[in-house]
Symmetry: C2
Subunit: 138 residues, 2 copies
Protein backbone atom coordinates (compact mmCIF):
# COMPACT_ATOMS: atom_id res chain seq x y z
CA UNK A 1 0.00 0.00 0.00
CA UNK A 2 1.46 3.37 -0.93
CA UNK A 3 1.06 6.22 1.49
CA UNK A 4 -1.38 7.89 -0.96
CA UNK A 5 -3.92 5.15 -0.31
CA UNK A 6 -3.27 4.95 3.40
CA UNK A 7 -6.12 5.79 5.75
CA UNK A 8 -3.74 6.67 8.61
CA UNK A 9 -1.77 9.02 6.36
CA UNK A 10 -5.09 10.71 5.54
CA UNK A 11 -5.89 11.03 9.25
CA UNK A 12 -2.42 12.53 9.84
CA UNK A 13 -2.96 15.12 7.08
CA UNK A 14 -6.52 15.84 8.21
CA UNK A 15 -8.22 14.53 5.05
CA UNK A 16 -10.10 12.04 7.22
CA UNK A 17 -11.35 13.14 10.67
CA UNK A 18 -10.42 11.38 13.91
CA UNK A 19 -11.02 11.93 17.61
CA UNK A 20 -7.52 13.04 18.57
CA UNK A 21 -6.22 12.88 22.09
CA UNK A 22 -2.53 13.77 21.63
CA UNK A 23 -0.11 14.84 18.96
CA UNK A 24 3.49 15.92 18.65
CA UNK A 25 6.12 16.16 15.89
CA UNK A 26 6.33 12.41 15.29
CA UNK A 27 3.04 10.83 16.37
CA UNK A 28 -0.71 11.28 16.45
CA UNK A 29 -2.94 9.49 18.97
CA UNK A 30 -6.67 9.11 18.45
CA UNK A 31 -9.50 6.85 19.57
CA UNK A 32 -10.14 3.68 17.57
CA UNK A 33 -13.67 3.88 16.15
CA UNK A 34 -13.96 0.09 16.49
CA UNK A 35 -12.67 -0.32 20.06
CA UNK A 36 -12.30 -3.60 21.92
CA UNK A 37 -12.61 -1.64 25.18
CA UNK A 38 -13.64 1.93 25.98
CA UNK A 39 -10.70 4.27 25.46
CA UNK A 40 -8.94 1.97 22.97
CA UNK A 41 -6.38 4.31 21.41
CA UNK A 42 -4.24 4.17 18.28
CA UNK A 43 -0.84 5.81 18.29
CA UNK A 44 0.38 6.26 14.72
CA UNK A 45 3.63 7.47 13.29
CA UNK A 46 3.14 10.72 11.30
CA UNK A 47 5.54 9.33 8.74
CA UNK A 48 4.42 6.32 6.75
CA UNK A 49 6.20 3.07 7.60
CA UNK A 50 4.47 -0.22 6.95
CA UNK A 51 6.05 -2.27 9.73
CA UNK A 52 7.90 -1.66 12.97
CA UNK A 53 11.11 -2.97 11.40
CA UNK A 54 10.81 -0.51 8.50
CA UNK A 55 11.23 2.36 10.93
CA UNK A 56 14.83 3.55 11.55
CA UNK A 57 16.00 2.96 15.13
CA UNK A 58 16.30 6.55 16.23
CA UNK A 59 12.91 7.40 14.82
CA UNK A 60 11.32 4.37 16.46
CA UNK A 61 12.76 5.57 19.74
CA UNK A 62 11.17 8.99 19.25
CA UNK A 63 7.82 7.46 18.33
CA UNK A 64 7.81 5.07 21.28
CA UNK A 65 9.00 7.47 23.95
CA UNK A 66 5.50 8.91 24.49
CA UNK A 67 3.67 5.58 24.71
CA UNK A 68 3.95 5.46 28.50
CA UNK A 69 2.47 8.86 29.18
CA UNK A 70 -0.36 8.32 26.68
CA UNK A 71 -1.11 4.86 28.12
CA UNK A 72 -1.10 6.27 31.64
CA UNK A 73 -3.61 8.96 30.67
CA UNK A 74 -5.82 6.45 28.86
CA UNK A 75 -5.75 4.00 31.78
CA UNK A 76 -6.40 6.73 34.36
CA UNK A 77 -9.25 8.27 32.39
CA UNK A 78 -10.86 4.86 31.95
CA UNK A 79 -10.17 3.90 35.58
CA UNK A 80 -8.81 0.61 34.24
CA UNK A 81 -6.83 -2.08 36.06
CA UNK A 82 -4.17 -2.34 33.35
CA UNK A 83 -3.54 -1.98 29.64
CA UNK A 84 -1.93 -3.69 26.67
CA UNK A 85 0.29 -1.93 24.17
CA UNK A 86 0.19 -3.93 20.97
CA UNK A 87 1.82 -3.47 17.60
CA UNK A 88 0.65 -5.94 14.94
CA UNK A 89 2.92 -6.45 11.96
CA UNK A 90 1.67 -8.17 8.83
CA UNK A 91 -1.81 -9.45 8.00
CA UNK A 92 -1.01 -12.79 9.67
CA UNK A 93 -0.51 -10.86 12.93
CA UNK A 94 -3.75 -8.91 12.66
CA UNK A 95 -2.41 -5.71 11.09
CA UNK A 96 -5.34 -4.22 9.17
CA UNK A 97 -3.79 -0.90 8.14
CA UNK A 98 -0.28 -1.08 6.69
CA UNK A 99 0.98 1.97 8.56
CA UNK A 100 2.96 1.56 11.79
CA UNK A 101 0.66 1.94 14.80
CA UNK A 102 0.36 0.89 18.41
CA UNK A 103 -2.89 -0.08 20.08
CA UNK A 104 -3.32 1.02 23.70
CA UNK A 105 -6.07 -1.17 25.11
CA UNK A 106 -7.43 -0.45 28.62
CA UNK A 107 -8.09 -3.65 30.54
CA UNK A 108 -10.19 -4.63 33.50
CA UNK A 109 -9.88 -7.73 35.64
CA UNK A 110 -11.87 -10.56 34.09
CA UNK A 111 -12.83 -8.69 30.92
CA UNK A 112 -11.99 -11.79 28.88
CA UNK A 113 -9.96 -9.94 26.23
CA UNK A 114 -6.87 -11.76 24.94
CA UNK A 115 -7.17 -14.39 27.63
CA UNK A 116 -6.01 -17.22 25.40
CA UNK A 117 -2.29 -17.69 25.92
CA UNK A 118 -1.46 -21.19 24.61
CA UNK A 119 2.06 -21.48 26.01
CA UNK A 120 3.99 -24.72 25.50
CA UNK A 121 7.48 -26.04 26.18
CA UNK A 122 10.25 -26.57 23.63
CA UNK A 123 11.56 -30.08 23.04
CA UNK A 124 15.07 -30.56 24.37
CA UNK A 125 17.71 -28.69 22.38
CA UNK A 126 15.25 -26.75 20.25
CA UNK A 127 15.53 -23.47 22.14
CA UNK A 128 19.29 -23.32 21.47
CA UNK A 129 18.77 -24.13 17.80
CA UNK A 130 16.22 -21.32 17.46
CA UNK A 131 18.37 -18.82 19.38
CA UNK A 132 21.33 -19.57 17.09
CA UNK A 133 19.15 -18.94 14.02
CA UNK A 134 17.91 -15.62 15.39
CA UNK A 135 21.43 -14.48 16.31
CA UNK A 136 22.53 -15.21 12.73
CA UNK A 137 19.80 -12.87 11.52
CA UNK A 138 20.73 -10.02 13.84
CA UNK B 1 7.47 -6.54 43.78
CA UNK B 2 10.87 -5.13 44.63
CA UNK B 3 13.67 -5.62 42.15
CA UNK B 4 15.34 -8.04 44.63
CA UNK B 5 12.54 -10.55 44.10
CA UNK B 6 12.27 -9.97 40.39
CA UNK B 7 13.00 -12.90 38.08
CA UNK B 8 13.86 -10.61 35.16
CA UNK B 9 16.30 -8.61 37.31
CA UNK B 10 17.93 -11.95 38.16
CA UNK B 11 18.17 -12.83 34.47
CA UNK B 12 19.70 -9.41 33.76
CA UNK B 13 22.34 -9.91 36.47
CA UNK B 14 22.99 -13.53 35.41
CA UNK B 15 21.71 -15.12 38.64
CA UNK B 16 19.14 -17.00 36.56
CA UNK B 17 20.15 -18.35 33.13
CA UNK B 18 18.34 -17.47 29.91
CA UNK B 19 18.79 -18.16 26.22
CA UNK B 20 19.93 -14.72 25.15
CA UNK B 21 19.70 -13.50 21.59
CA UNK B 22 20.66 -9.82 21.95
CA UNK B 23 21.84 -7.34 24.56
CA UNK B 24 22.99 -3.76 24.75
CA UNK B 25 23.33 -1.06 27.43
CA UNK B 26 19.60 -0.80 28.12
CA UNK B 27 17.94 -4.07 27.13
CA UNK B 28 18.34 -7.82 27.15
CA UNK B 29 16.45 -10.09 24.71
CA UNK B 30 16.02 -13.80 25.34
CA UNK B 31 13.68 -16.63 24.34
CA UNK B 32 10.55 -17.17 26.42
CA UNK B 33 10.73 -20.68 27.90
CA UNK B 34 6.93 -20.89 27.68
CA UNK B 35 6.45 -19.67 24.09
CA UNK B 36 3.14 -19.29 22.28
CA UNK B 37 5.02 -19.70 18.99
CA UNK B 38 8.55 -20.83 18.14
CA UNK B 39 10.95 -17.91 18.54
CA UNK B 40 8.73 -16.04 21.04
CA UNK B 41 11.15 -13.50 22.48
CA UNK B 42 11.12 -11.28 25.56
CA UNK B 43 12.82 -7.91 25.45
CA UNK B 44 13.36 -6.62 28.97
CA UNK B 45 14.67 -3.36 30.29
CA UNK B 46 17.94 -3.85 32.21
CA UNK B 47 16.66 -1.38 34.73
CA UNK B 48 13.66 -2.40 36.84
CA UNK B 49 10.43 -0.58 36.02
CA UNK B 50 7.12 -2.25 36.77
CA UNK B 51 5.05 -0.70 34.01
CA UNK B 52 5.61 1.07 30.73
CA UNK B 53 4.40 4.34 32.23
CA UNK B 54 6.92 4.06 35.09
CA UNK B 55 9.74 4.39 32.58
CA UNK B 56 10.98 7.94 31.85
CA UNK B 57 10.32 9.05 28.27
CA UNK B 58 13.89 9.26 27.08
CA UNK B 59 14.71 5.89 28.55
CA UNK B 60 11.62 4.30 27.00
CA UNK B 61 12.77 5.65 23.65
CA UNK B 62 16.17 4.02 24.11
CA UNK B 63 14.61 0.70 25.15
CA UNK B 64 12.14 0.68 22.26
CA UNK B 65 14.50 1.76 19.51
CA UNK B 66 15.88 -1.77 19.02
CA UNK B 67 12.51 -3.54 18.91
CA UNK B 68 12.31 -3.34 15.12
CA UNK B 69 15.67 -4.90 14.41
CA UNK B 70 15.13 -7.67 16.97
CA UNK B 71 11.64 -8.40 15.64
CA UNK B 72 12.96 -8.49 12.08
CA UNK B 73 15.64 -11.02 13.05
CA UNK B 74 13.13 -13.16 14.97
CA UNK B 75 10.61 -13.10 12.11
CA UNK B 76 13.28 -13.85 9.48
CA UNK B 77 14.81 -16.70 11.48
CA UNK B 78 11.38 -18.24 12.05
CA UNK B 79 10.35 -17.61 8.43
CA UNK B 80 7.11 -16.18 9.81
CA UNK B 81 4.43 -14.18 7.99
CA UNK B 82 4.27 -11.47 10.65
CA UNK B 83 4.71 -10.74 14.33
CA UNK B 84 3.12 -9.03 17.30
CA UNK B 85 4.97 -6.78 19.71
CA UNK B 86 3.04 -6.79 22.95
CA UNK B 87 3.60 -5.08 26.28
CA UNK B 88 1.18 -6.14 29.02
CA UNK B 89 0.78 -3.80 31.95
CA UNK B 90 -0.90 -4.95 35.14
CA UNK B 91 -2.20 -8.39 36.08
CA UNK B 92 -5.56 -7.56 34.48
CA UNK B 93 -3.72 -7.16 31.17
CA UNK B 94 -1.81 -10.44 31.47
CA UNK B 95 1.46 -9.11 32.92
CA UNK B 96 2.92 -12.03 34.88
CA UNK B 97 6.31 -10.51 35.80
CA UNK B 98 6.20 -6.96 37.17
CA UNK B 99 9.22 -5.80 35.20
CA UNK B 100 8.78 -3.90 31.95
CA UNK B 101 9.05 -6.27 28.97
CA UNK B 102 7.92 -6.62 25.39
CA UNK B 103 6.86 -9.90 23.82
CA UNK B 104 7.86 -10.44 20.20
CA UNK B 105 5.60 -13.18 18.89
CA UNK B 106 6.21 -14.63 15.41
CA UNK B 107 2.96 -15.29 13.58
CA UNK B 108 1.88 -17.44 10.69
CA UNK B 109 -1.26 -17.12 8.62
CA UNK B 110 -4.09 -19.02 10.27
CA UNK B 111 -2.17 -19.95 13.42
CA UNK B 112 -5.22 -19.00 15.50
CA UNK B 113 -3.26 -16.96 18.07
CA UNK B 114 -4.99 -13.80 19.35
CA UNK B 115 -7.68 -14.11 16.71
CA UNK B 116 -10.45 -12.87 18.97
CA UNK B 117 -10.87 -9.14 18.38
CA UNK B 118 -14.33 -8.23 19.75
CA UNK B 119 -14.58 -4.73 18.26
CA UNK B 120 -17.78 -2.73 18.81
CA UNK B 121 -19.06 0.75 18.08
CA UNK B 122 -19.48 3.59 20.58
CA UNK B 123 -22.95 4.97 21.22
CA UNK B 124 -23.40 8.46 19.81
CA UNK B 125 -21.44 11.10 21.71
CA UNK B 126 -19.50 8.66 23.84
CA UNK B 127 -16.26 8.85 21.86
CA UNK B 128 -16.03 12.63 22.44
CA UNK B 129 -16.76 12.20 26.15
CA UNK B 130 -13.99 9.61 26.49
CA UNK B 131 -11.51 11.67 24.47
CA UNK B 132 -12.16 14.69 26.70
CA UNK B 133 -11.48 12.59 29.80
CA UNK B 134 -8.22 11.25 28.39
CA UNK B 135 -7.05 14.73 27.37
CA UNK B 136 -7.67 15.94 30.94
CA UNK B 137 -5.34 13.19 32.15
CA UNK B 138 -2.55 14.02 29.72
Amino acid sequence: MSSDDCIFCKIVTGQIPATKIYEDEVILAFLDIGPVSDGHTLVVSRKHFERLHDCPEQFLGQISSSLGKIAKAVASAMDSDGYNVLCNNGKAAGQLVDHLHFHIIPRNTGDGLFDRWPAYKYEQGKIDEIAAKIRENL
